[in-house]
Structure formats: C-alpha cells, structure tokens
Subunit: 313 residues, 2 copies
DNA sequence: CGCTATAATACTCACTTTGAGCATTTATAG
DNA sequence: CTATAAATGCTCAAAGTGAGTATTATAGCG
C-alpha cells in the first residue's frame, strides 16, 4: 500500500545513510532450535538495502537466499537501530532486523553458511534440564560481584534486584522471555565477550561480530513471547507431526519443559490441529497420531482474546 | 550498547538512502485519546534522521520538540518501512516510526501543531457508545459490495470473511486491536480518501498526507494491544487519579466500555496502584479515592505470566 | 507367547480467574 | 429530606489451569 505525495514531506537530507538488512532465521532441527549463520558462524545473514530491492522484506529475502541458499517462509520485523561507530565518519548505518521462520531442508549449500544451535550463543538460556549448573557456578556469583561493585548502597541493591529479576535468582521465577534483558545485563557487567575485546570471556557462549548476538537475543525473545499467543510454531514444523514432536519443538524454543497432558489439552481445545489419519510407529511406544496444522485458524483467529473486563453490549 | 568492529561487515552502498523519523505521540485529554499533529492536522510530527542525532530516539525527540514544543515521555519503536515512490528516482526513503506517550500539558505552542482526537481519523474505531451507526449505514453494505465485486465465488467468500472478521460482522465479535487490518482493508476496498485521490471519501474520517494515517493506525493498534499486558496507561495519567478516571482513559484508548467493578478488581489485585490519601469531590457522587501508580511494579513485573503449561521443577 | 519398557491418550479434581450482577455507602444538589 | 451520582463491597456460576492418576497400544526380547 503506497501513496504518492506531490509535495514531499521533507527535503531529503544531503548526506543520507546506509541501510543494512539483518536476518534471524530460525529452524528446529532434531528438537533443537537453530539459526542460520555465515562467516564461520560468527554473523547473521545480512546485506545492504539497495535501490534494486522492491521492499525491505524482499531485499532481505534476496540476501539470505544468496548467502545461504535457503528460502524464508514466515517473516516479521524485529527492530531498527542506528550505529554511530561503524563506517565513515559522516555516514551512519541503519540496521533493520527481521525474524524469519522456516523448515530446515538440509540443503547443504555450505557457501560459508551453516545452521547452529542457538544455545551455542546463549548457554544460560536452556533450562530444559533444569537450571544450568552455570548459574550456581558462575552467573549468580559474578552478578553478585558486579552488584557489589556499584557505588552506594542503593545502587548495589538496585543492580542486584535487576540481576535477580532477569535471571530468576532469589525468590524470582525464571522468565524465559527476558533473553535480551539478560544479554544486556551480562554485557553491562562485562561477562560476555563482545564487551571486553581480547579478554577471555567469563561465561561460555559463542560471540558474534558487531552486535549480531544482541540481535539474535532480540529474535529469540520475540519468538519465545509469540509462540504463546500466535500459532507460529507451525511454521517450523513438518507438514505432519505428532503432538509430542510439537511439544518438543515448543520446549526447544522456550527452553523449558512442558506438562504433556496439559499441553495436549491446550492444543486440542484451541483446535489448532486436525488429524491426518496417519500414525507414527517410530518411537517404540504406542503409535502417535499425526496431525497437521489447521490453516483455517489463521483466518478465524485474527487476534488473541481480550484481557480487559469488557461490558456486555 | 555499541560494539566497534574493525572490519565492517559490508561495504556501504554507493548511493545510500534517506531516513525519516515519524512519531505517533499520544495523550488522553478530557477522556478522549489525542495525537499530536502538524500541518493543519494532516501529518504526524516527523523529520529526517541526521548525523548530528545521537540515536534514532533522540533524533525523534528533537524533531517533536522543535515542531510541537512538547516533550515525549515513554517511547517505543513501531515499524520501519521503505517507500519507493517518494523523492528522487534512485534515492529511497526509509521511515522509522515510533509510538510516544505523554501527559498533555496544554502548552499552546501552536507552531502549526495541535492535538487531535484520534477518532477524527478513524470514526469507525470508537465503540464506546455501541457499534457506530456508520456500520449499518455504510461500512457493512460497502464491504459487502466490495466482496461481491471479486471475480470467482471463492474470492468473494474470502473477501467477505476477511471483512467480517476484521469488522466484527456476522457472527464475529468486534476486536479493537485490528485497527491496522481494518484501515488496510478499507484502503483496498477504496473506501478511504488516501486511496482515491481527488474523489470524495465514502467514509467519514480525516485523511493524512502520505501514509501517515496508516502509521497512526499502527500506533493505535500497538497501544490497544499493549495496555492489556503492560502498565503503560499510567504514562498517560496525571500523578494522582481516581479509578474511574483510569477506567475512562483505558476505555478511550480501547474504544470500548469496561465493567466497572471488575476493572477495579483487576487493578487492585495486580497491585498496580496505591492510595495517595487524597480524595476527589468533583464528580457529584461519593468522593473517589485518588491513587498513584506504584513505580515498583515496573521493576517487579518484568514481563507477563506464561501461557504455556509448564512442568514443575 | 507373555512380559516389559515406552509412549500415547483418557480422565479427575482442586483451585484460580473471569463475567455478570446485586447491594450498600457516601457524597452533592436541590 | 430526597433524589441522584458515584464509589465501593460482595456473591456466584462458568471457564480455565495446574498437577496428577489411570488406561491403552506398540515394539523388542527371552
């Protein structure tokens, strides 16, 4: 939808800026969440926005296909930010990031691109086997130390509260959605590599070029939030799947385990899936019925139900 | 948080693009939702992103203050899009839009800027007095007509279903969050002015320059969604307020009426507010206790509760 | 062939959260 | 003193959730 305007709203600025497109492309591969990477798994697929591109989305699709040989299915915009420090002095770069979901097709196109488990970059985000030992051993003590370094009692308490909330320490419950807040706090505390160039990282977890790891954190956070109120997981599933497979995928993304029976009840009562009539005999137990996603829900359920106490009409 | 990179990820594109910042600045004035406008209320505050700006956000703040004399409190990014059709041939414009919330201070700075009720632009969005007559009279019949114009039976049914869902026709319930979808559908159906330049609009509602009305729709939709799970309304309230005032503000934004007792229960059990000890005797009834927002919740409640059936640890 | 391990699937039950509404209290304006 | 307008309190049923227990269907094995 575009509108021509006879009178431009602004005189275009003299210098202009460079625009860059960046993709967080996600697939679930053997029950683990993966992202597409390039440059020895240290960067996300990206490239400049050019005048030949029809739109931001299509520009990004072109870059990703060119760099990874992999097409994107579902896409949504993540965030746009401007960097002061890169490139020429007077030239700013604007980066527009997108979240993309796809089914892995194992087209081993190489081209310096590869799928990587996203927990390689954020080991502290996987709580499927309970709270990682990392927490007791490193995260909590180091954050405590960082909090104690603050000048002033109030500032120390404040730092510790922030740490406790975002990492689920003390009485606070773990909240899997706070991926970005956690990364930024670790960055601020100097515990991840991008922060201290050349120094040995305090925490395990692969670093990335520029702020790509931060963008990845943004993407993970968005996806973890979104699976709760929109049927996006299905973009990551094969055409037919068992309910346990579906559950494992959600668990992989959320980084936590779910209650099996209640998970089924949720899926069924929301009528998100329908039976294919097929079964899978591959698990060694009772065969699982295979389901497919009910495309109709995309139309029916335009949005989630309200949380406001509405008045009847 | 910025990271220097010795090797830039990409060689900046030769031509570059122009970047524009646009604000949807909201305030609630006498129980009606308002937005800040410029140019005879036909445009949103905006201006080019320049190399002197420290960041996108601060650039936008500068423009808005300059154009309207009004500072912004809370801000969040809305969406970024690229337009082909504006400006020079080889020069693209990237527009980055923000949602801003503020308390109106009635600083009548004029300067060609003014607060306008957002329902001036979207009369069909206000359902506080029930479904507007507009629906029976114009919206429904015109959408029916538009649906019937589609080639092929399937396409006709499809169009009508989309219309029914987004506008709450037939059996579908009204969903106040679908502001953008509704505007885009009306645009597609040729019922709003930006679409048919020079023609008389079929629907009432003030048009805007370029795609500013679409950006406004995006902002309203975001805000209507967000008030349900984040305490953002308080950014729009005075320091002390009664619960009914608070309710009226939410109703103004959502465009629907709420159940009074249940609304209070919600606010109270979530401990969003605390008593100030003061009362308001201005309403002619029993005096209302005045409350203030509990700043602490911003820290405590980092995010909403889960909707996934978690397994206990 | 019957036994065992592994899942899938079914059903239960207490508890919490909502939607809807009635009832009571405390003001102001005549 | 009375009518009116709110504010505030309280109840109750229905729906939604968390946490289990119980039953059914396969494959693999001795």
């Amino acid at each position: 939808m575009t509108t021509e305007t006879k009178e431009p709203l602004h005189i275009p600025a003299g210098h202009g800026v460079a625009a860059e497109l960046i993709a967080v492309l996600v697939a679930v591969i053997s029950e683990a969440p993966h992202i597409m990477t390039i440059r020895d798994a240290r960067a996300l697929p990206s490239g400049p926005f050019e005048s030949s591109h029809r739109s931001l989305q299509s520009g990004l699709r072109e870059w990703v296909e060119q760099q990874t040989g992999h097409p994107i299915g579902y896409m949504e915009q993540l965030y746009t930010f401007a960097d002061r420090d890169r490139g020429e002095a007077d030239k700013r770069t604007i980066s527009i990031s997108y979240l993309g979901l796809t089914r892995e097709e194992s087209r081993a196109d190489a081209r310096d691109s590869e799928w990587r488990d996203w927990y390689d970059y954020f080991p502290w985000e996987d709580h499927r086997k309970g709270t990682p030992e990392l927490f007791e051993a490193v995260v909590a003590p180091r954050l405590r130390q960082w909090a104690d370094e603050a000048p002033g009692k109030a500032a120390r308490a404040d730092r510790w509260q922030r740490a406790a909330i975002t990492f689920g320490l003390d009485e606070f419950a773990w909240n899997e959605e706070l991926v970005l807040q956690r990364y930024e706090l670790l960055y601020e505390a100097g515990l991840v590599t991008e922060a201290e160039r050349g120094q040995k990282p305090v925490l395990p977890g692969r670093a990335m070029l520029a702020d790509h790891r931060r963008i990845l954190a943004t993407g993970i956070a968005r996806l973890r939030a979104k699976i709760k109120y929109r049927p996006v997981v299905f973009e990551l599933m094969p055409p037919a799947f068992s309910l346990l497979q579906l559950q494992r995928s959600v668990e992989a993304l959320a980084g936590r385990l779910l209650h099996k029976q209640n998970f089924r009840r949720l899926i069924e009562q929301q009528e998100l899936v329908e039976e294919t009539g097929l079964s899978s005999f591959e698990t060694g137990g009772r065969p699982a019925k295979l389901f497919r996603f009910r495309q109709a829900v995309l139309a029916e359920r335009a949005a989630a139900g309200t949380k406001l106490p509405l008045l009847r009409p």
